[in-house]
Point group: D2
Chain length 352, copies 4
């Protein structure tokens, strides 16, 4: 039985709150430290945070005193989750890693670093060994593992079976993204109620690049060779609360003979971590819906604790080869939940 | 000064109401007949219709007695607008046309008929002459002109400049459609609030075919040669009230050298009906937004009385050639307003 | 350990679906019969129903063949839940009761019948004995118990402590009601998105009368003496999915000296069924929020499985005596969940 | 023909933008100065403001250079509208008034000042003479007139006829307020989508007091005697864009014999400024809806340019005397539009 003491960086923000919610009652991890900005430091968590989750703030966390995010406050902690804002994550995460503290980060700052795994346990678990090429400490005790952007998670997960069966040449995606993706207070109600905003700053660049690393091949010396396809993204904000829905078209390298072959790619895909029985792992990471009106953010983003990817309307495309819709819970599967699953796999494999 | 007596078929439905609203105070057309189903016939309009527009029901229309949609009730009418449901439009529109009554229809039933213009005045005004190949009456007095589906209007309008300058090979589009497109009561609030429904029955087929006719070339004997490109569509419902927003990627036949060439295609496009000064015509049918967050359905669908197409985020695409967002007011530009503009052009050209 | 076979009337509707969802895995009750209209009869449930819940349709129910709602189809069933539409409930519920089948009904039809309990287990559990005055069958095996309207549940629950401590003279309430209260498809998205509809047909009459029965005193011969106060209601529809929020002002018979006395009324109120440990009973039926912005439908309606009443902003009123907000999940606490709790109490007390 | 040069204070905020929109093409007033904070000063307006209105930013305003709000920048201006935030309005408005510049303010700061009119032209036009008791300048050229809070406008307007006919003893109101009332960015989408927030900081105090001044009697020396009734308010935020909807119950001093008497109070109420033909004045300031589902924010808040009050469901109340719904456009009638009408009346009466 694992029993690890953990800290959360950026604990008062929207991602930090989701970490706290998802970790309540976790069988392996116990929250012992909560880091936030100078403004919050010194206050008990329930006073420092404007709690926005729809469950009650767990009592076990409510009275923990929030500290700043320096290494000295996280001594004795086995590892930290980082929900830091990208404006401060580079410095803070490095300083903790250099102090020998492993970091499971949701921040974007180190995602494309060539020694840092951009990890989705069911998709590229072998990338974990990249940790060994990191040099934050001499003894290798301090390291960083990241999870991808909240659109890249459903995109990479849905592409994996097609990539393995057919190869991929190019991907065109329009992502319809929920307001929770912008944090709190995030998107103004005046901007989004009854509306769609056709641009999300900085998002499309991530969608163009992260999937190529996630699906990249691990080679000698733990280096990644990026996957060799192109992604073109249009990221828009829609008035949904949770769940990014992607309209995806894919050009394959080897054209499938029949739509059944495409469905088979999904059905025959093997979840490489199913043997481990990790606490947050969905029993079925990818679900293919047959009903034409599914998946829907409000109904299906929360399936399997928000950790299941939904694919719908998988069909032949007259221009590319296949088109489909993909849905994942952006703040669980695409953020805090994904990071927790990363930590569980790392713990299972003995890194924690 | 034109002064025409007009009727409206399907007058109590959502499209019929939009016709009434837009025709209030129209300088050329005066409503004289209102046709609806048997259930409504015999009642004054204000009792027959559940008025859902945000202006007061015009008094001039309020007391008109609703009739059934047979030809005898529309004698003495110069022409009718049809907002009929597709389940009844085939029979009714034919019977009126055969009785010598011109029909400007929003229904889909005759759109792909090879003798029926699928008309957008700024895009394919020459198609009007197809009327002459119709044979509903011997004297040619009864005929049908249609306007396209509410997604095909912004799609075809936005493609026209690129088609003329570069040629088009293929088009991939994800259309994010407002609830008003489904009529009233239409979409259940439980289905769409805080949600996206990734399928709209029958919609994608229209998007795959109608643009090819709209951009087709009029040849001998008033026959259309369909435009030679492919369209692949994903149509989803989003919680907006008015305004369909399209995420479009286009493969051109002649690749532009530079993004400026693409912008020039829009800027140098010439509106072929600007000379006529039609009452419902927008002064600028296509507006290219420079702000990355524009156009937005709630803010921009109503520009120029809901008759202006908005294009935004026009950019080079790494896979196709260009990508952009297109927005049009679905129940005005994409339905009743488009039909009224069709009638104005037909009147201007002497067909009415 | 109880082990009862149950049926659901109106199983394909929104309330019926909620029954199925809430009964999945219930320790005492197992679904054996599903009744619906002639149109659905003969089909397996998954084909008869348009499933709208956000969990997967339970497999155990999916293949049950739907029947009509006559008694012969429910032989061998221990009791039925009724989610019938009021247009058919009078006849069907009577016919089953006369056939000796106990009915736990969410329909309004028998709520104000003088022999039928209008039951909220924590509020008026003694009213159960009214069953004994029913005469559907000679042996008393067939009877009807109802739960109140979805606004009356939070209203009566919140009034109970004040009624007991101070007496009540009059109540003014504005109820802001979620769209799920109108069933499916229910409220049109065009009516409610970004809007408030200031009238809900038939709703206010129930709010004026049902609380007086719920808080009425059980007297000789199991007759209820209605509570002696007046209620004035304004019921409006707001764009929320689940959770009716009530703005309530109450004139008390004995004016409290201090706001603390009012808070004490809530705190010292004793839950009369806490001893029974019923599976669906909330551990804390009434929660008093201290944060001025709470309770909110989206965050708090689902607390304790949707069975907890939330009260917020309890304060002195300058005109009446006290004012507060009350919130309850309308389709769980105010409908299916309330009915299930009624059944659990009836089973515990030996009526089932 | 009046021709006045005007300035706008707080020009870049949500209220300031509404002033600009409503004043575009105004026959009497021309925008000559735009004041904002230090951060915006020196920039042309189109760069200083994040324009959120659904019309294009008027060209005439777009290039005006924004200045700070000191008197020197508004020399030569005939008067200013103030849309200043309350955190800065006290100082700035006083300094301009002392510099001899008349101020028509939407800010709350001077509303309850005993020499400042809290003006609704149709309700208390005689209060204008309070200006004469102000002492900002010796010559009386600098003065302040305010318009009421956006809930108090529909409340006071709807109460006026009943106050005149029957007298009022007390008023209980639940106001369901649109997000635009909180400015921009204002309410977070995560707080309000599919939700109701049962508290709006500071709002209820204004509702308790402002109506008493608005309906107060002007006595000797231009002093107001406050109206002698009590108001108890519950202010909640609902997911509407524009239009505050109030659920109101009123105890009258003289009980009406019949509901017809109440309706007559509305019908026989005489608009005291109808003679003036002010550009922004609605032809019918108060409209009584007969349809039980009206008025609705999305459909009716914009009637008569957003300047008409809607009253619906006027009925006898079993506890107070009458109950009804009242609706007004909060950022037009309840803010910028109301201030403009104030200015028009003041100009008409020779104060400007």
């Amino acid at each position: 039985m694992k029993n690890l003491k953990i800290g959360i960086l950026g604990a008062t923000g929207a991602v930090g709150q989701k970490f706290i919610r998802l970790l309540e009652g976790h069988p392996w991890f116990t929250i012992k430290g909560l880091g936030a900005s100078e403004r919050s430091a010194g206050k008990p968590y329930h006073k420092a945070a404007h709690w926005i989750e729809d469950i009650e703030l767990p009592e076990s966390v409510s009275k923990i005193e929030v500290t700043q995010c320096d290494p000295e406050h996280f001594k004795g902690i086995d590892f930290v989750f980082s929900g830091l804002d990208s404006s401060v994550a580079t410095e803070i995460e490095r300083s903790l890693a250099e102090a020998g503290i492993p970091i499971i980060s949701n921040a974007k700052n180190y995602r494309m670093d060539e020694s840092v795994p951009l990890l989705i346990p069911e998709i590229n678990p072998d990338h974990i060994s990249m940790i060994e090429s990191q040099s934050f400490t001499e003894d290798g005790n301090g390291w960083i593992v990241t999870n991808p952007n909240c659109v890249c998670v459903p995109l990479a997960m849905s592409l994996r079976p097609f990539y393995d069966f057919f190869g991929i040449e190019s991907v065109i995606v329009t992502s319809m993204q929920a307001v929770s993706g912008a944090g709190y207070p995030g998107v103004s109600s005046l901007d989004i109620m009854g509306n769609v905003v056709p641009h999300i700053g900085g998002e499309e660049d991530k969608i163009h690049t992260e999937p190529l690393k996630i699906l990249g091949a691990l080679g000698d010396a733990n280096k990644i060779t990026l996957a060799d396809f192109k992604v073109q993204a249009t990221a828009v904000r829609v008035p949904t609360i949770e769940g990014h829905l992607l309209s995806v078209s894919v050009k394959l390298r080897n054209e499938p003979d029949h739509i059944d072959d495409i469905h088979r790619a999904i059905k025959e895909w093997v979840n490489p971590i199913s043997e481990y029985d990790l606490p947050s792992a969905p029993s079925k990471p990818i679900h293919l819906y047959k009903q034409p009106c599914f998946p829907q953010p409000r109904l299906h983003a929360g399936r399997e604790g928000g950790m299941q990817l939904g694919i719908g309307r998988l069909r032949k495309d007259s221009i590319m080869d296949i088109s489909y819709l993909a849905l994942a819970h952006n703040t669980i599967r695409g953020a805090a939940g994904g990071a927790i699953l990363n930590a569980e796999l790392l713990a299972e494999k003995g890194y924690l």
